[in-house]
Symmetry: C2
Subunit: 547 residues, 2 copies
């Protein structure tokens, strides 16, 4: 039996586009002679559709798509994920389902049992868990068809006496198929492999794991679908962040690539993050119907990396860089930014902000009479820049890309409505030290990020001679503490026990806690780590935080 895995990029609610992509893949797989073609979890409608799942019009759209897709399944069977209505009148109104379509008809519907509701997931908000688990049978072969989390066995196991695979194993299947919507984080691949290996070995059958690719504002799906032997041996891994249609032949306890094996090259972290961010930018624009971006360029590394990524993702001709020097800007801030513009090939404008800053100072003179300059004046500069950048957005339809990094977002080292403005946070889940790695990687073939931007000490340049190190610990140290607090969820005491200096740890954690109100109003952030600011981290705004 030949099984086609269709690793596609879905667009939430864009039924025409998704249906065309799905039916094209069905046609191609049929022409190549596949017996069955497999699509990802909730491929119809897209994932995560969130509260659109409450819209009757959206659900009608899903049903119409399904009818059209089913009509194409003549001479080839199909497995595809979709929301289906729960008509029992009891419980949540929908199931997260895998539909098994043969001869143009839905022959069997498999419901998802384990519904994740941790981190970025909230499936209990919409879906009713499965009542039971049954294999599907096709051409004499029995398949344990499961949906994503049903192989993970960690959410609400109490719902069932036994795990979904424990039930399915009793039918002695010939193959496990798992259709997924598994978000990318740079450290998730190993766990994914281990989980799949365990199931293949325990059931002693081969396993096909199909993920999707694509991004929807924050969450990025990485693909890297997997074919695995009954021994748990990796047979093939599909591309990361790219659509692919691959074919596998099911043998006796084996599965093999059908059109020659694909090379498995697990990339290093930085190249992978680089790919993820490019897809994140590209999909945000493509799926929102935008073409052009605007970036504020300071001469520093964050904005340089974002501008370079934008040029690569969207084409340099679609990127406008705006340089907005102040009286506190060093000479090199403009020359470094111009070097980047030349290397990357984008357009630019230079607008000095002193005229506006001077008027703000004068207009506020009476109200602030006798008070010394402080962070107020620094924030005014940042907000003038935010207003100028948004004017490019308003006047010319360019989308403002935000250039804040994760270290800044964590400690609140940024100005709301100023440098925190933008439609999409490109590197908001990348720590400052990781931004440097990204910069080196971007320069792997030729200099794009100017060398001087990489070597000079980081500065917001909001007052004379200012350096980030005046207000913040050294970034190597800061990022290490932040990683323990944010990704590893360690307490102050636990971090101190790792050997970090006590006053430093309390100072950093206090900065993080106090910046929650700023992050609440920050743009959506492309997620590349296991714990990004945004959907997966939900802290109360008004609370006393534990010490």
């Amino acid at each position: 039996m030949i099984i086609a895995l269709a690793q596609l990029n879905y667009h939430i609610g864009n039924f025409e586009r998704n249906t065309t992509a799905i039916t094209s893949a069905i046609q191609e797989a049929k022409n190549k002679g596949a017996d069955i073609v497999v699509f990802a979890e909730l491929a119809i409608g897209g994932y995560p559709a969130k509260d659109l799942l409450r819209s009757p019009a959206f659900l009608d759209g899903c049903e119409n798509s399904l009818a059209e897709i089913a009509s194409q399944c003549q001479g080839i069977a199909c497995i595809i994920g979709a929301p289906v209505r729960n008509t029992s009148g009891k419980g949540k109104p929908l199931y997260n389902a895998a539909l098994f379509i043969v001869d143009g008809k839905v022959q069997q519907v498999v419901h998802k049992g384990l519904l994740p509701d941790y981190d970025v997931f909230d499936e209990y908000r919409y879906f009713q868990p499965a009542d039971d688990f049954k294999c599907i049978t096709y051409k004499g072969r029995k398949v344990a068809l499961t949906i994503c989390e049903d192989l993970w066995n960690i959410a609400v196991p109490k719902l069932y006496q036994r795990s979904p695979m424990d039930v399915l194993k009793e039918e002695n299947p010939d193959l496990i198929i798992n259709i997924a919507a598994s978000p990318f984080s740079y450290n998730q691949l190993r766990e994914r492999m281990e989980v799949l290996q365990t199931h293949a070995q325990q059931a002693n059958v081969p396993l096909l794991y199909l993920n999707q690719i694509g991004a929807h504002a924050d969450i990025i799906f990485d693909g890297r679908s997997i074919a695995m032997d009954a021994s748990g041996e990796l047979v093939d891994m599909m591309a990361s962040f790219e659509e692919q249609l691959n074919y596998y032949e099911l043998g006796n306890r084996t599965v093999s690539a059908w059109h020659g094996p694909v090379t498995v090259l697990p990339p290093l972290d930085t190249p992978l993050i680089h790919q993820a961010l490019l897809l994140g930018i590209r999909d945000y624009f493509a799926k929102s119907g935008f073409k052009k971006a605007v970036v504020g360029l300071s001469g520093g590394i964050d904005s340089a990396v974002v501008a370079a990524l934008a040029c690569e993702a969207l084409g340099a001709e679609n990127v406008m860089a705006v340089l907005m020097p102040s009286v506190y800007s060093s000479d090199h801030s403009v020359t470094d930014a111009l070097d980047l513009v030349r290397n990357a090939g984008c357009r630019h404008e230079i607008i000095p902000i002193q005229p506006m800053a001077g008027e703000f100072e004068q207009s506020l003179g009476t109200a602030f009479d006798g008070l010394l300059p402080d962070v107020t004046e620094e924030n005014i500069q940042a907000r003038i820049r935010g207003t100028l950048l948004m004017s490019f957005s308003n006047k010319l339809g360019y989308i403002l890309l935000n250039t804040s990094n994760k270290s800044e977002a964590a400690v609140g080292y940024g100005t709301l409505y100023g440098d925190m403005a933008g439609a999409l946070g490109v590197i908001g889940d990348v720590y400052k030290t990781q931004v440097y790695h990204l910069a080196s990687y971007i320069n792997r073939e030729r200099e794009i990020i100017p060398q001087h931007t990489i070597v000079k000490p980081p500065s917001a340049e909001l007052r004379p001679g200012q350096k980030d190190s005046d207000s913040l610990p050294d970034y190597e140290l800061l990022d290490s503490v932040l990683f323990q607090y944010i990704e590893n969820e360690k307490s102050a005491l636990q971090i101190i026990a790792l050997g970090f200096e006590e006053t430093l740890v309390h100072r950093v954690l206090n900065m993080v806690d106090r910046a929650e109100f700023k992050r609440f109003q920050s743009p959506p952030i492309l997620r590349v780590s296991s714990k990004a600011f945004g959907a997966g981290r939900a802290m109360p705004l008004v609370a006393r935080y534990p010490a």
Copy 2:
């Protein structure tokens, strides 16, 4: 048996404060001769503590508080809500529990079974559902002790064969007690009453329902705890939005107020919303440790109402109004604003924005050469005002109150980083037409909102002679359509079927869908309706919406 209901205001994570309030109430109830005192759901630690529930330090704080509270329960029993650890090693790490404390010791722990995960709730993220349900017994009386949703029977009923009350009823209890954290929305009281009545009548026993009061940024708890006879007759309703300690005597199938009955006066919507917003403002400041607010005053009704509410909630001496007229401002915009300042008694500053606006225009002249004025120039004005207001916040520590109403937020009639700036959206869940009702109510004894502000046609005054009605439908009509779409979740077709004009409906719904990216970056909004923008409405940012 005398039962004290302690309707208190809890502060998330502020253990000292909560523990003091709780032990004071225990002492007072004991002195008055009560047999048992009852506190709300998750009183220890506060609700919703969200991801603080993942912090070991927070959970230690809960356990330390519990130990101190238990030690006070000598000669009086106590029922109190708290998170308790699930030590089984299976499932979620916590239970949402009601602790029954006698003679200084926890005698029985009741776990919540039905965990809401719709709208603003996400309890499945943290809690494991109960395994079973058992009554507690005290002084020969059996009590069906339940936690909030366990009386509602709507979430995940499939978890159990029978509802929690079906199980508890078999023990023939003498009383139902429900401890709750039930958020306020102006139309929720009737449903709450019906649910409680059904349970009292079905079990044929009296019922005591204890809610909490207080606000945490967006969600507001209204109190209005209830005592009800076995016949479902309302015996007493406690205060709305105020702390109270009331006493009830349990008879045979009856319950009666123990220190004379409290008059039940279900208030009209507007007074209730007025109270809710005052508590929302007051608690945001008190619990965040702030005192002073700044509001931009345009002469229009939204900012006037917010300024008046702020003066009432915080004291006029703590409110700074900033008037920022432009060349497009009408004469009356300043005089109306000054009338409000005089009536409300707050301080004010006047800062014309033309000098800044002129400089922006000139600085952008080259880049925008040959392009006509459009929304860009309007947004620049709004962002200059946002920057000026944030300067007051930065320089003087005043908290900026946002003055956007729900109609504007719905259709995106506002400027990101401009009039959408602020730490707290005061009337972001109040439609424009409701703002007028609020204004009349605020003027119920004397004129605070100037009459001219109420009668003049609404205008953003961002270009010559501009009126809201140039860009938007009449507010009566707009709000009616918005209510059907947002609160009632009706589709375009369904709203048209109600008799609204087709092109209008499509135009309004399209505006709402396209403004999702703006609302993503808006401040937290005080929630007073059943469907506010914020936690309870989760729409994808990059998606095609159904027609």
